[in-house]
């Protein structure tokens, strides 16, 4: 198991943002982490990526404890946020070099990797252009590839397809499958229910708790509906 979570909680004052959640994610799995806005997805994810410490419970990511080894976790994961955060005023190449640099990649590795990445994404012609001039879909793909630059074991994607059109979203999922096929574990939050169908397994959070966790197929059977959207609606309405 690459991610193991047991009774993990985060409390802000009286508010239980995350309430005793437990789950496991295996190697190479695409794990969908669903929930309405404010259900606690982001808070839970922040604890797993080592920038927020849990109030109680246990969790290990890539074999490291979230309390004691947050620094080791950071070296072994990649992260991409819904903002596709790259530096707009840096060129594609400079962005790659910078992010490779802060993950401690050697100069020759960065060079080799950035050429590979630019060729793969077909960005040869614009490699020296500022990222700010790229269309959103390209930025998204670039941002994903940059998050994989240091070959992490797990990649965390926080609503990675926000604001992009359906075709670009579809293309993006192809990148996700490609990564999963290489053995990288993908932990993805989303509120697009059609995307939930692409995941190997899906968990649905409601008010800080995980209310359902299984493969999309089994969840649909369990709730006796045709789409993940209906599963979600049934759960959310309680």
């Amino acid at each position: 198991m690459v991610i193991e979570v047991e009774n993990l909680s985060k409390v802000f004052g009286d508010f239980k943002a995350v309430n005793q959640i437990s789950f496991e994610v295996g190697k190479g799995e695409i794990f969908g982490f669903l929930g309405a806005n404010g259900a606690g997805k982001t808070t839970a994810m922040k604890m797993l990526i080592g920038i927020s410490s849990p109030s109680s419970g246990k969790a290990t990511v890539a074999g490291f404890d979230v309390y004691k080894n947050a620094e080791d976790i950071k070296k072994n994961i990649g992260y991409m946020s819904q903002k596709f955060a790259l530096y707009d005023d840096l060129t594609i190449k400079e962005n790659i070099t910078f992010f490779g640099g802060i993950y401690g990649l050697s100069r020759s590795r960065i060079k080799e990797k950035s050429e590979l990445l630019i060729n793969e994404l077909g960005l040869q012609d614009v490699a020296k252009e500022l990222v700010g001039s790229l269309p959103l879909g390209w930025k998204q793909k670039l941002s994903f590839s940059v998050a994989l630059l240091h070959e992490p074991k797990i990649i965390f994607l926080d609503e990675p397809t926000g604001g992009v059109d359906p075709i670009t979203r579809r293309q993006f999922w192809e990148l996700i499958y490609k990564a999963a096929n290489k053995g990288i574990t993908v932990f993805v939050t989303t509120h697009y229910m059609d995307e939930a169908e692409y995941c190997d397994r899906v968990s649905i959070m409601v008010d800080g708790k995980i209310e359902a966790l299984d493969t999309p197929k089994k969840l649909k059977e369990q709730f006796n509906v045709d789409s993940m959207n209906d599963v979600f609606l049934k759960l959310a309405r309680g």
Partner: protein, 368 residues
């Protein structure tokens, strides 16, 4: 270390690719020094005046010659009677009118009492005051000259000497102030904006998820601005020496060290601002309203602290710029050493440590 250098390099890309920040960094200091040095000044030069000489005798002619020989005034018009005074002021042609009474010379010798009326346009009170003072002093000098032959047993002659700035150049007062403002602006405002920009763009999150230590992120953001601030300080000092002939009496080393101390305190303030503001606009507003205004109004840069109402005097004590201005004025104009400014330096140091501790604490809370 290699990661850190990469980070600083990235920061320089940001600065040099943004025309706005380049302007604030390099255009602003030069423009401000020029403005304060040449345009905004308390001195008077070639002020336009008019003269109504009712007696037109040898004495008045001599006085008028002395007035026109000084650089302070330029006589625009000779009036013929009182009715012309009001219109000439209303047209705004002159700032003052001098009226010599009838039989000036005769009254002076026989009654030893003659009057010159100085009518000044007080819509600008400062200039009016200065004009009146300068005219009086010209008249007084003339009086002393003609009195020299006479033997008066007791006389008190005030002899004024303006120390540290003998020519009363206002640029001497503005340079330390402008330097303070620029260093504050570059260090506090630019860092707070650049840190909040990373928050807004979402890159701060990426950096925090990376193995780069959070304190390295902050130091990496701050180092370029320290370098640029030091360059700015040097440029300002060189400009004031070579363009405005302002002497630096004290030690350059001390001046440099004190400036670095002030830069660091401003940077700490900038980090503090960035921890409490979510957007670049907020950071800019807080920097301008919370830092710039107090610095301009309360630090003693333009308005002397001693003549402020008590509550404002108390408030002025918590403004780091106030202490820095006292220190650099001392070093630049009076040539004093650390022995004379150690108290101010200590206060500034204390404030710096306080701001740094506070921003580290705030930053940690935000990470939680």
């Amino acid at each position: 270390m290699k990661r850190f250098i990469g980070f600083v390099k990235k920061e320089f890309y940001h600065i040099f690719r943004d025309k706005r920040s380049l302007f604030i960094l390099f255009g602003m200091p030069i423009a401000q020094i020029m403005l304060f040095g040449f345009a905004i000044t308390n001195e008077i030069n070639n002020v336009d005046i008019a003269i109504l000489d009712k007696s037109q005798d040898a004495t008045t002619e001599e006085i008028i010659n002395k007035i026109s020989a000084s650089n302070y005034f330029s006589i625009q018009q000779y009036l013929k009677n009182e009715s012309e005074i009001e219109p000439i002021f209303q047209k705004g042609k002159v700032k003052a009118v001098l009226v010599f009474e009838n039989d000036f010379s005769k009254k002076l010798t026989t009654e030893s009492n003659a009057t010159v009326q100085i009518i000044a346009d007080a819509t600008d009170p400062n200039t009016a005051n200065t004009i009146s003072n300068f005219t009086s002093s010209i008249l007084q000098k003339y009086q002393q000259e003609i009195n020299q032959e006479l033997k008066i047993p007791y006389r008190i002659i005030p002899e004024t000497r303006m120390v540290y700035n003998q020519e009363l150049k206002s640029v001497f007062m503005f340079v330390p102030g402008v330097m303070t403002i620029i260093l504050m602006l570059v260090s506090a405002m630019m860092t707070s904006i650049s840190v909040t920009k990373e928050k807004e763009m979402g890159t701060m999150e990426i950096l925090l998820v990376s193995p780069l230590k959070p304190y390295l992120v902050i130091i990496g953001k701050v180092v370029p601005y320290i370098l640029l601030s030091v360059i700015n300080a040097v440029v300002i000092i060189l400009m004031s020496i070579f363009i405005f002939k302002m002497p630096v009496q004290g030690s350059f080393l001390l001046l440099g060290l004190e400036s670095i101390l002030f830069i660091i305190s401003s940077l700490a303030l900038g980090i503090l601002i960035s921890t409490i503001s979510e957007t670049q606009q907020t950071a800019m507003m807080i920097s301008l309203m919370g830092l710039m205004l107090p610095v301009i109004l309360l630090s003693g840069f333009i308005f002397p602290v001693a003549s402020m109402p008590m509550p404002l005097q108390v408030i002025s004590n918590v403004i780091p710029a106030k202490w820095f201005i006292i220190i650099i004025k001392g070093i630049m104009l009076k040539g004093v050493g650390l022995a004379f400014v150690w108290k101010e330096t200590l206060i500034l140091l204390g404030m710096t440590v306080f701001f740094m501790a506070l921003s580290v604490k705030k930053y940690k809370i935000r990470l939680e």
